[in-house]
């Protein structure tokens, strides 16, 4: 099959009364790609996802899955999509098996075998009624229901927030198998850490707007090194201010500290070594910190202390 774009959102807008939910979101997701959809709570992630699934009607703009319109052809779209909601709502009185049976019937498929295999891998007891399941186990059941029909597109709204790390690894393995077969995924989260191991590209949404879309590889190349140096005598800050790409430069008497992208290292080192150095330290920062320093989200997903400018490409 030729590579047809899996998801195409075009200038998607959604207003809820006077409130603006989405303010012109455009993005595409290709086959085999995992798109990490990042943003603080309330930025519009869930609204985007629910428009993509045809639950909400966009005020303007279009949402398409393999060329099918989410609002006008929801049944055809749902045949292609598996959805894991953020807060999985299940039928309290039905067991895991019964959920599987119901969804499989609605899809006119027999997914029992696949569901058993997935439940085994995730360590979920399908005999238990949903109301007795913990949040993590509800999450697992939602994942099984979404994945078992082998959809072309997986839409995951903060799927691993209640799941322990070991299960998360299984989940990531399932996701990799899905993309290896040409499937795509839209994976939303409010922290980069949750998606950095699986996403190919990330998009950052804030107040209903997509403020950045970036390959994770490119972000890694821009990853910052935490540099610290102590000199034998006081140094003037101006000596280092000229290095391009340098961030968070602090010179305090004999001490220097800064964050430097790879590209700035050579020039920085030459200026440092021009003086007598007593101590030197250089460590690569976690991707998360790089990301935060570029997009100014704190670890809880809030954007109050927006430090850096926008780096949309």
């Amino acid at each position: 099959m030729p590579t047809e774009t899996m998801v195409r959102l075009t200038d998607l807008r959604k207003r809820f009364g006077k409130n603006i939910g989405l303010d012109g979101i455009s993005l595409t997701i290709e086959p085999g790609e995992v798109f990490g959809y990042l943003g603080p709570n309330g930025a519009g992630k869930t609204t985007t996802i629910r428009i993509l699934l045809g639950m909400l009607r966009p005020t303007s703009g279009t949402s398409e899955v393999l060329g099918l319109d989410s609002w006008r052809q929801p049944v055809e779209v749902h045949r292609l999509v598996g959805y894991v909601p953020g807060e999985p709502a299940l039928y309290d009185r039905l067991t895991g098996h019964q959920h599987v049976a119901y969804c499989a019937h609605l899809r006119r498929r027999d997914d029992r075998k696949r569901s058993l295999e997935l439940a085994d891998r995730l360590g979920l007891d399908l005999e238990r009624p949903a109301r007795t399941l913990s949040r993590g186990n509800r999450q697992k059941l939602a994942v099984i229901l979404a994945v078992m029909s082998r959809p072309r597109l997986l839409v995951l709204d903060e799927p691993t927030s209640g799941i322990d790390p070991l299960v998360q690894q299984v989940f990531h393995a399932i996701l990799r198998e899905h993309t290896a077969e040409g499937g795509s995924a839209l994976f939303s989260s409010h922290v980069l850490g949750e998606v950095e191991r699986v996403a190919d590209r990330i998009g950052v949404v804030r107040k209903g707007r997509l403020v950045a879309v970036e390959r994770l590889q490119d972000l890694a190349a821009r990853s910052l090194h935490q540099v610290r140096a102590r000199f034998a005598e006081d140094v003037p800050a101006e000596d280092f201010a000229g290095v391009p790409g340098l961030r968070d430069l602090v010179v305090d008497g004999r001490n220097l500290s800064c964050s430097a992208p790879q590209s700035a290292l050579d020039s920085l080192l030459k200026r440092v070594s021009a003086r007598r150095v007593e101590d030197f330290e250089c460590a690569e920062a976690p991707l998360e910190d790089t990301f935060l320093s570029y997009y100014g989200m704190d670890r809880n997903g809030s954007t109050e202390n927006t430090a850096a400018g926008r780096h949309a490409d």
């Binding site: 869930t46 699934l53 045809g54 049944v75 749902h78 045949r79 598996g82 959805y83 299940l90 609605l106």
Partner: protein
């Protein structure tokens, strides 16, 4: 059991259907148990005749004779208790059909499967209608069988006709509740408005002989379609059946159109 939205909806109501059926059997048994003493008490008829006319219109279908089995059942069960029971079930089921699933946040799970919104509304309607007819059948069967034990002999054919009209009455208001539920997703409103309208429709039909303005709109009342032609004596009135069926069809169509147009609550 979980092969479709219809099957799942019926399955969910399994216990409640049993409870409703048991309640109806008991209600009918109660009326049957009282019958011998009413029959042997001719003054009951005089008592009713002496009631103020408005009161008699409200609680007793006019012209019914308490000393005959049909008159007794018409006054005691069909005028009041029977419709209340059937309406309570149908309105509750209709109101909960769409809004209830949204209240429990399961509508996203259901609709993320390849099922159209129209299909969901249609299946929820079918479940509500089927159970309403089932409950009416239970009531009719109880009337005929329990009646025999106490010489409360009722003609089975006419009882069946009456129950058909009673079920249609329930389904009309149940469909109204379903349409409101589909259009707004608000369960309370979808329950309250049809219940209030049912009371109004009841009063309009009952007091039409006394109030001129009611007389003009009486035929619009679903209670008129249900009982005005005295089904326990005259059987099925097909024109009334057609009016009810038409009303139901329009309401279900509106429910589907409304649900297809709006945002689903998360």
């Amino acid at each position: 059991m979980l092969t479709s939205v219809l099957a799942k909806t019926l399955r969910d109501q399994g216990k409640s259907i049993l409870a409703w059926s048991a309640a109806l059997v008991l209600i009918v048994a109660m009326y049957a148990a009282v019958w011998p003493s009413v029959r042997d008490q001719p003054s009951m008829g005089d008592f009713i005749d002496q009631m103020p006319e408005a009161f008699r219109s409200m609680f007793a279908t006019s012209g019914a004779d308490m000393s005959t089995p049909t008159g007794y059942i018409q006054i005691e069960l069909l005028s009041f208790m029977g419709p209340i029971a059937v309406l309570m079930y149908a309105i509750g089921a209709g109101a909960g059909a769409i809004g209830g699933e949204e209240d429990r946040h399961t509508m996203d799970l259901l609709l993320s499967n390849p099922v159209s919104r129209g299909r969901v509304v249609a299946d929820k309607f079918l479940a509500m209608a089927l159970v309403t007819f089932l409950l009416a059948a239970v009531m009719g069967l109880s009337l005929v069988l329990e009646g025999r034990l106490v010489d409360l002999d009722l003609p089975p054919g006419e009882v069946a006709a009456t129950m058909l009209h009673l079920a249609l009455l329930g389904v009309v208001f149940g469909s109204l509740a379903l349409a409101l539920s589909a259009a707004t997703g608000r369960t309370g409103l979808s329950r309250g408005l049809p219940a209030g309208l049912a009371v109004v429709a009841y009063i309009v039909n009952a007091l039409a002989p006394l109030v001129e303005s009611f007389d003009r709109i009486q035929k619009a009342s679903p209670f008129y379609q249900y009982i005005a032609h005295d089904p326990l004596r005259s059987g099925v009135a097909w024109d009334s059946v057609m009016v009810s069926a038409g009303t139901i069809a329009v309401l279900v169509l509106l429910a589907i159109l409304a649900f297809r147009r709006r945002d689903v609550a998360a």
